[in-house]
Chain length 226, copies 2
Amino acid sequence: MVLLSGGVDSTTTLACAKRDGCELYALSFAYGQRHAIELQAAERVAQGMGVAKHLKISFDLTEIGGSALTGSLAVPKGRSAADMGHGIPVTYVPARNTIFLSFALAWAEVLGATEIYIGVNALDYSGYPDCREPYIRAFEKMAKQATKAGSEGAEVHLCTPLLHLTKAEIIRLGTELGVDYSLTWSCYDPTNGLACGACDSCQLRRKGFQQAGIADPTRYAGAANL
Amino acid sequence: MVLLSGGVDSTTTLACAKRDGCELYALSFAYGQRHAIELQAAERVAQGMGVAKHLKISFDLTEIGGSALTGSLAVPKGRSAADMGHGIPVTYVPARNTIFLSFALAWAEVLGATEIYIGVNALDYSGYPDCREPYIRAFEKMAKQATKAGSEGAEVHLCTPLLHLTKAEIIRLGTELGVDYSLTWSCYDPTNGLACGACDSCQLRRKGFQQAGIADPTRYAGAANL
């Protein structure tokens, strides 16, 4: 099972699960994110990668709020690399990966799946706490206690093939695995279906492609070039 | 913050949080449960107890399935106490408390709440793995790693005032705290707005009231008397 947002990281992670010989089940979430356009990318990617089933779960995190991605706070633009390297930005969505992984744990138990892939990475990332290894390991321990399957001895492993890779390394790996990045979506704040080019997510993506020496197929709005 | 289903346990737990001097925030879930009527009870209880806010999150676990409460499997009726004491029944919903607590963790972070109350109990219960103390402690440890608040040193505590109480003790405690159990709902498999009297949840409730020596205000369908 793969958590699939339709971005670079989760798409590359799906390709890793395929490389590892897994039967693929993809799980996406409509949670009230301002970039719900990413779900169209997730669908394209899931189809392109031949997943056995792609499940989309819907709920509304705008009622909980606390994030620029689910509320009225503005998405920061044009932050410097130094700024992006410090602290947790306002695009952090409270407990998002915990919510996502909880649904994955439920579906994994029903399917009898023992591997949940998640595209977290702790190098070129946005500083979110629920993308770090201590969190991943703690969730795994909790998961053992949480389910009927766990109480019967089954273990669910969280597979994090990108954890120690830079964005450029991720893009190189995905390219080797045949990922078509033109299907993916990264921008947090799209306008008229175009990526802004300036939010943290766009900047990390663009820098990653540049450093990997691979052309970024994304069409960015206006003159937003690196 | 209190997870509130509208049943005996979560309602008593809400009364405990009130006793403990907390400002009350109640969180309920419409997850496709066949006894969605319990949400009306949750609303009545939240109003009666004077909560500051009652939030209801909706999502559909019927797509994930794996439970008699969210699928077409029949809810077992008239099981003996011996049967109920063994194993995990088909009314188990995969990873349900993990999903519920994940949303609670998100809302707690936004509110700055440090206590999440959950009405799990490990004596007169249905054998669900996510109602046991090792699970609760593991979730707490995971939660520390999961959030921005946690990474800044804040801790979220899971408060389980009912953990070591029998159902009769829970009902006595709630009665002392002034709980109006006529507002609550327990049945997994209601018909025409009446409790069946025979599912595990009804049986545990009825036995609890009987052992507590307190009248159960529930109207049960047909001749379903103990």
